[in-house]
């Protein structure tokens, strides 16, 4: 629950002399991802395309969150609320101008501003106190939408006007393209960002604030920036979710969403984009699989509850078996982990 101080062991099994060119440039990952997604959307049935799109939207937010929490050590339990901010901005802009790119920009602007405000407060706070503040942010969504129900539509939320997909493209395929477009651009930018000086600053602040300060890093500014970057990702994800659902309501951004996002990045592997991807996949697949398993039990009484138990058990078991997250599991060698 405190901020993450110890460096994650996941990247350190190789000698510490960094050879940045050992990994392919992030652009190749992005291109490969884009090709893969487009290919997949042609073979998958519509519902799977929709799920794929949902994974993309989740990936957008988990990628930003893992940079904030994994690389900079700031915990946020309020990213669900930031997503709601993005989703509502998108909805309002879309209903006013019916112009997708413009609406997405609107979502990005408002969440960036929200990110600045929360980030400024967050930079002063540590560990559970930061968790407490962001938790309060997460639960404020329904209250805000009810207070401004003329514009935000209270519990009912808003439905969103959308242009039909271009040409003869099926809706679900279009959704998958857009969501993954957003996800891949986001993760590419994040990957570029954390490769450079900003990434080093992030890690330096996480590992030892005093040392970072001595080394000339502006700690507060780094923390606020990290928060803003990850808030913008959450805003884009929120817009993508609003686009997927063609509607937005406070019930879609409950506290459990914020908690599940944190769960996803930790289970996936904290501080790594591959981990964020694993986490996003799990957020979509695990409840669905647990639900199916629950249905197989054949008992109506058990159904939903059994799914909960399975879901929970998987979380606990994975966390105990692979403390570094799924992305840290190596297939060839067993990782040597030191406390």
């Amino acid at each position: 629950m405190t901020d993450i101080k110890e460096k994650r062991p996941v990247t350190t099994t190789r000698p510490t002399t960094r050879k940045p060119r050992r990994h392919p440039h992030p652009i190749w990952y992005a291109v490969a991802g884009a090709v893969l997604v487009v290919a997949l959307t042609y073979v998958l049935p519509p519902f799977r395309n929709y799920q794929l799109a949902t994974v993309g939207a989740y990936f957008t937010v988990t990628a930003g969150l893992t940079v904030l929490t994994g690389l900079n050590g700031q915990l946020s339990l309020g990213h669900g609320a930031l997503m709601a901010t993005g989703a509502y901005s998108f909805a309002l802009a879309q209903n006013k101008w019916l112009n997708m790119p413009l609406s997405i920009v609107a979502a990005l602007i408002t969440t960036t501003l929200a990110g600045v405000v929360i980030g400024l407060a967050a930079a002063r706070l540590r560990g559970p106190y930061l968790a407490g503040l962001t938790l309060a942010v997460a639960v404020v969504v329904p209250s805000v939408t009810s207070t401004f129900d003329e514009t935000l539509g209270s519990d009912m939320g808003l439905s969103i006007a959308l242009d039909p997909p271009p040409g003869v493209l099926p809706m679900e395929q279009w959704q998958a393209w857009l969501c993954w477009g957003g996800a891949l651009v986001t993760t590419f930018l994040l990957a570029m960002l954390v490769r450079g000086r900003f990434g080093r600053d992030l890690r330096a602040v996480r590992d030892d604030e005093t040392a970072a300060r001595l080394a000339g890093v502006n700690v507060a500014r780094t923390q606020v920036l990290a928060f803003v970057v990850s808030a913008a990702c959450a805003g884009l994800a929120g817009a993508l979710f609003a686009f997927l659902a063609q509607s937005v309501s406070p019930g879609a951004f409950p506290l459990t969403l914020s908690l599940f996002l944190v769960m996803a990045i930790v289970i996936g592997g904290l501080g790594r984009l591959a981990g964020a991807l694993c986490g996003a996949l799990l957020l979509v697949l695990l409840p669905a699989l647990a639900q199916t398993a629950g249905e197989r039990s054949g008992s109506q009484h058990l159904e939903g509850n059994l799914a909960l138990v399975i879901f929970g058990l998987v979380l606990v078991v994975v966390m105990l078996a692979a403390p570094g997250g799924l992305a840290s599991i190596r297939f060839s060698t067993i990782s040597r982990r030191k406390r």
Binding site: R124, Y129, A136, L308, M319, P323
Partner: protein, 292 residues
């Protein structure tokens, strides 16, 4: 003025149960440096045990005792069977395991008892005494205050007057050094979990009868309020937890009464911002909390 007095007492009686649950969070924080997100679900499980025992025996107090004992045992079980094996190199691992436990506990309770709301009896009447036509406190509220007060006193004595309390804090703050000095760190952790779970169960027993009824999610909302209370007061301080609980209770009551229930969560957020910007470690933090 009548209205103000009424809202004050309403807020205090709500605040007392927030305080009780916040104390459980403080206890586990002091003992293990972790915020136990499963605390609410564990407490609900204990209240279900009390419910079953009371139903079988017809005695509220047997159920009450059973809940506390079950809480203790559940705390021990969770620590020994699960939390002990969590890799604490990242504190978030413990949080995720706790969230997983929440789902497991709620699912199991749903399977065993169903998702229906069940009424929980109170040992004392909830009809409030009237003073000059204003409803103030009920016997039950007085019982809640007494129970919370007893827990505060017991915890304060434990942590400031006994060597066990000192060892617990030492084990949490500096496990390695403590181990060298002969403190049974593992045992202290287990003890901390057991006590925290028992206090959490007590809080559950106190709060569930005043709300919508017993169901697997009965403590979800309370957890948020109590966590807020603990953060406002400072997670290291039992007195802070009580103060935080009462402040949050009063704030919710005044805001709901004067401005409307809808804006209450925003008021809580505002309170947190104001308090934490002034004192980043909560009201009762020591000055070092800033860098903890």
């Amino acid at each position: 003025m009548d209205r103000f007095i009424y809202l004050t007492f309403d807020g205090l009686s709500r605040g007392a149960v927030y305080a009780a649950f916040a104390l459980a969070l403080v206890l586990i924080w002091r003992a293990a440096r972790i915020v136990n997100f499963a605390q609410g679900a564990m407490a609900v499980a204990a209240v279900y045990v009390a419910y079953s025992v009371t139903e079988k025996t017809g005695s509220y107090w047997l159920g009450f005792a059973a809940a506390l004992v079950f809480g203790l045992l559940l705390g021990i079980a969770v620590e020994k069977a699960v939390m002990r094996f969590v890799d604490h190199s990242s504190p978030l691992n413990g949080v995720v395991v706790a969230l997983g436990l929440v789902l497991v506990v709620q699912g199991v309770l749903g399977i065993v008892y169903g998702n229906e709301f069940r009424p929980v009896e109170t040992p004392f009447a909830r009809d409030a005494f009237q003073i000059g036509g204003i409803a103030v406190l009920s016997r039950y509220d007085v019982f809640v205050f007494a129970a919370v007060g007893a827990v505060v006193v017991a915890l304060t004595v434990l942590f400031t007057r006994t060597s066990v309390g000192l060892r617990m804090r030492a084990a949490a703050f500096a496990p390695d050094v403590s181990r060298l000095l002969g403190v049974p760190v593992g045992g202290m952790l287990t003890l901390g979990w057991a006590l925290a779970a028992a206090v959490g169960s007590l809080a559950g027993m106190l709060v569930v009868p005043t709300e919508l009824g017993l169901n697997p999610n009965a403590m979800d909302v309370l957890f948020v309020s109590a966590f807020t209370a603990a953060v406002v007061g400072g997670l290291d301080s039992p007195i802070g937890a009580v103060t935080g609980g009462l402040v949050v209770g009063l704030l919710l009551s005044y805001v709901s009464g004067y401005l409307g229930a809808t804006v209450a969560p925003m008021a809580v957020l505002a309170l947190l911002v104001v308090v934490l910007l002034g004192r980043p470690g909560g009201l009762f933090s020591s000055s070092k909390a800033r860098l903890a």
